[in-house]
Amino acid sequence: MAEKLGKGQISREFSGLPLKALLGAPLKATADANAMLARSQTQFMLSTCFEKKPDADGQERLSPKMIQFKLERAVINPDGSVAKVPAEMNFTIPLLTLVPLSSLAVDELDISFEMEVKSSTEHNFEKAEDREKSADGNDVTHPYRSDHFTCEMHGTIAKSSRSNQSEDGSRSATANARYDIKLHAGKLPLPVGLTTIIDIFSKNIAPIQLKEGANQAEEANEKNKEDEE
């Protein structure tokens, strides 16, 4: 049988909770969510925008998937009029540059509650000789041991009482314990490494203009190869 939470019982549910757990649990959950998001975005990028191809050594490497675009440009006739048929060319770009990737992650976490501190416990694991050493002058180089000292606060989430007056004039009081967690997910800037790759891909969309000298150089290279053979 389900038990109903009575007056004051809600706040008792939180009593005895250490402050560390109240603050740490939402933080850990947020960090876990962010790690999961980053992983799924990386998986999407690698599996959708890249494909495995064997290289010259026969080893499989990830190569960007390329997609083909058609580009039309207006042609101006020698007499200054616009030609009816535009010039057309095909070019390929990596699929990665077309997908607006962004690092979506929880960028703000707001935890709010009022706490009545009921008890605090201090655990000191420091040995007597360590204590003597640290008391010996102000040696700041003395190794800091965080595990030698812990302090925990236990308390209850403060309950707020609200009284309501009903039609027959009787008053009833309700107790609420508030523990608010607000999450905000936003876009974080992409890692520099990824933006550099996308930038290089984007810059390479432009067609390469071959100069007359370059053509001659290529012809000369081919002639040299023929001579060698």
Binding site: T48, I67, A74, F91, L95, P100, I205
Partner: protein, 69 residues
């Protein structure tokens, strides 16, 4: 659901704004630079590949929103 993206113009380097749904329907997109006459569209040979990537991207976006809400 469609989304907006942009690619640099191969001719002048300005941005060409692209709508994902219109791109897949074969629509042409003009360069935002008024002095440039470049117009581009997706080649039919790449439509399936791009549609598949866009679908997966939408799915990723939906899952990301679900896990952070």
């Amino acid at each position: 659901m469609s989304f907006q993206t942009n690619i640099p113009c191969p001719d002048c380097g300005s941005n060409i704004l692209i709508d994902s749904t219109l791109l897949l329907s074969g629509e042409k997109f003009a360069c935002t630079n008024e002095a440039c006459s470049a117009v581009l569209s997706l080649d039919e040979s790449s439509i399936t590949q791009v549609r598949d990537a866009f679908d997966k991207y939408e799915e990723l976006k939906r899952k990301s929103q679900e896990s952070t809400s």
